[in-house]
Symmetry: C2
Subunit: 177 residues, 2 copies
């Protein structure tokens, strides 16, 4: 299973491509951050995030796109940009017929460290170990995207099968443009 | 000036196309609501909103797309869907090189009724009068989208000129795919 993980954000959007199956060694194929300037207009910023994630999807052809589920109750100042970045990530995946899975931050932490309240450093340490990286991935948004992708692989295939069925139904029902 | 107004929402997204210039009679060319089921997956819902708005843009070729600015502090329960719907509206406009303008709900109310705290009924009554409609537009989301488009025309052309310049700069800087 190949997963594109997306830690959505407008100023910094983390992304990571992880390949593997639960119970076997996982491989990080790519990870990084797409940045947009807070001074650019919102349309320019969303197009940049959408194009960058679309290019990753075309390059790596993931089986599924895992996006962090955004909650409105935390980080109110930046939550609108986060929600908007998540929307273009989800749209990019759905446009290409890929299933989308959402995982909450605590689900990701619990999957990777065993604790849903683990700190950033602990998550980064486990990501480094699990993927056999020489050093902790930076910046933090890229590490979070890697953790999200690992979480998706490890949470098993039941959710992925459901999402794939929904995507197939959607592709069949889509009106050609 | 022809304006596509968008009152973003995931369950009901209002849209309206208004043509005219400040100081002259305004004409509503189209208005309505695109609905998506809360039971559908988020990718399907965002694709539907994006496709519907994209089709309106292709049909009516507006000069500008005016979107209601979303705030996180009100209506916390639905704000994430609203932010996501606004993102796909902005992305649809920016992808086609159209300038995007954001207006707050109180700016829209003040432009249309003279009061930034006017109620829904008052806004709908003024929209009906200004556009010379036989009856108040329904549902409320369509009326809000009409009010947004009227607001954009009436707030004058200074903001539109700035947005057009930004869009032109963006189109020139865009990497072809």
């Amino acid at each position: 299973m190949r997963v594109l993980g997306v830690d959505p954000g407008l100023t910094r959007c983390g992304f990571a491509v992880v390949e593997g199956t639960a119970g076997r060694r996982l491989l990080a194929l790519e990870y990084g951050v797409v940045r947009t300037s807070p001074e650019a207009d919102i349309g320019t910023r969303l197009v940049r995030v959408a194009d960058h994630l679309g290019a990753q999807i075309e390059r790596f052809r993931p089986d599924v796109v895992a996006v962090e589920r955004v909650f409105s109750q935390h980080n109110v100042r930046t939550v609108m940009g986060t929600a908007q970045a998540s929307a273009v990530a989800i749209l990019a995946a759905a446009r290409l017929g890929l299933p989308v899975a959402l995982h909450t931050p605590s689900e990701v932490k619990a999957a990777v460290t065993g604790s849903g309240t683990a700190g950033k450093a602990q998550v980064a340490a486990m990501v480094t170990r699990v993927l056999g990286l020489a050093a902790a991935p930076k910046p933090a948004d890229a590490a979070d995207a890697l953790a999200l992708a690992i979480c998706h692989v490890w949470r098993g295939s039941a959710q992925a099968r459901l999402a794939a069925a929904a995507a197939a139904a959607r592709a069949g029902a889509a009106v050609p443009r």
